[in-house]
Subunit: 159 residues, 6 copies
């Protein structure tokens, strides 16, 4: 048998059985970033265009994508999410945008994939809105930074 | 007026008008990577589990996500894609997986977002299938590496 | 802090946390109407075309849309609906069609949005099927008429 | 045969054949409104919560819904939209919010349903974000106000 | 290289490149059937329940599924369909229901998969509505019966 | 009143009320098959193309479709699935491919439709990948073979 839980004993991909797992409160937080030219950050922050529209569009896209996670990731279980928030902060040091998502559920599996999907889609949306003025952008640092609930217990990466 | 094309003259987000743009053949290529522990890469490559199942599931997820791009990215135009391919290669030097997507269309807008969405979703799918054995994974380096067709002409980043 | 629950303390849109709310039986009923020319109503009711096809198509569309509510409304929580019914009645007094939807769930949040989305989509479907013969149609009166379950208690508008 | 184009000669619902229709530039504009208590409008406009978040979330939801029209309305043809914009304006005279959507395509059918779906979903999203503070809201006046392109020629309702 | 067009020269699944193929008018017709007990057929045809609701719901489901084909079948190209019709006829000889779908497009690839998906989903919907009274139902005979347009020319199976 | 549970007392289609039903562990298994020419089976099994790519793509498509069941089948309740597996085996005796799906949930309704939708979509995906080399394929034998949990008790067809 494989040590990879998403493969059965013949190496076939399947959605793992969680019917014996208890529904508990679970939280996951993920982070990521879009790096861009300083001038791009300035266009969003200091230009005539209010930063709100770019950032709030990407935040909304991230929230909506969290709800589509099981549609996108083949072996993810569909879950009734109880909270999703996505926060995007311009950051001169990158330069770029720091993205953070927090997702909560009460269910038999964790919500790391929902948090990662929210961060990833928020970054893609920023990229889409800024690509006409910047060809050098890159999405990176997408990772889980903390997780609570479930059998494996609480866990926090260096956030 | 904003220099950001996705905002109108009041800074409101909108889907830009491409009705005056000619439908031309367009190609975009994007890349990204999932870094993980060497042991994780070994589990996929050398273990009892055939690497095929993990990698092919993620490639399929990337292809399907490319077709959902306009559903996920608020201001993306829906497009009839004429080709999508996603290639995932294990890489000992990372260590991790190098992901590449190529998307083609004949239409009035480019397909960078479709290629980026394919790469991003393939990385998320790898993450999902490997997260039970590795908490240190990170998705990074998601960027457009080349683009042909359209008014702005051909363009290639350092691939 | 805003008194608007869908905004956090910085005015940022988010999906509110319902993880502390108890799952209770909830029902919501919504109504709305499509007004049209009398001749349009006659074409549906008295013409050769059986009224069944127009009305039943719109009822089915309303039921299916209720299940898509969390996909459409950015900050709605995904919910496992336990009942959806949509009823469309031709009405000579409008003249037009009166639409009613009832939705039930056992969950931590109410189902008003699901009922409203069902009514709204049923009206849009009627509009689509009749627009070739009537340019004067209008959708109006979409509102919640009653709601039971949840912390805020039972409530009924003038139905 | 029915005079209703969406029914075949046996009264059966079907998606009408547009394969013989020429692809032409088409524009449709729709309007609608959400009426609410004056205090609700004040909470959005004058309160601590920036109006941007409520209004921009609803505008984005409307744009995204326009792209989902063929998924929601059973007999609508899928179309490659070339532009979507949604504009929401607070209006003290209603009191409430006036919503307008404009959609463009180059294709064999019109985009009235896409414009109406955008308006309808934007209204539903406003409703969702404000329902905690106002039980009296109502969505109404959803209609097509102008249409250009296609065999039936240009047409404008009293906007 | 594989003779299977959906695999690249390394046996990897991909969406084949159709960017060099001409957009032509294409039609595909598919058939299938749901067999059931005679008593089930009677319940739909002769009972108090009007047959319309069962059959028209399944026809609508088939039409809507045709539009979702590229979402469901991983390597299918998204297409702008120009016509979809689904016809369900009760058949005492089976006993059961005979299902037929016709799909048209003007595009670079055929629409067999759309017609097959429509038939398949219409059969599944009949199954869903009748499963409470019949455990012996079976879906079978799903196949393409004719196809016109495209490089491979016209073709008709024994319908 | 109709004996068909999906119709109300006026013969109108509706999603039946399951709010009074207890959430219990439920399992459903469905089977089906794609028959093809022997040469087609050989191309998948013995040719240069590794069989893995065709079969694993269809298995993944089946798993993903199970999660979309309530989107496709109008009166199906949305459910949080706890397990989905799809197994495809080449079979020289057919000749063709035998497809089996098992779905589990803890909920108020059964998962037969999810298992049937998984089998059906896996067959459609095989058809799509093989249609370029075989015009004689047919999907058949799609049925529920066993079911446990729920009021109607355990049940097994001849598998």
């Amino acid at each position: 048998m494989s040590e990879l839980t998403h493969l059965d004993d013949q190496g076939r991909a399947h959605m793992v059985d969680v019917s014996g797992k208890e529904a508990t409160a679970r939280v996951a937080t993920a982070r990521g970033r879009l790096t861009c030219a300083s001038a791009t950050l300035d266009a969003v922050r200091k230009g005539k265009a209010p930063k709100g529209a770019v950032i709030s569009t990407a935040e909304i896209a991230g929230i909506m994508a969290a709800k589509r996670t099981a549609d996108l990731i083949p072996l993810c279980h569909p879950l009734a999410l109880s909270k999703v928030s996505v926060t995007i902060a311009p950051d001169d040091d990158l330069p770029g945008f720091a993205v953070k998502a927090e997702v909560r559920t009460t269910g038999p599996t964790g919500v790391e994939m929902e948090a990662l999907t929210a961060v990833s889609t928020a970054c893609l949306t920023l990229f889409d809105m800024l690509k006409a003025i910047d060809r050098t952008m890159e999405i990176s640092g997408i990772r889980v930074v903390s997780k609570t609930g479930g059998k494996s217990g609480d866990w926090g990466a260096v956030a």
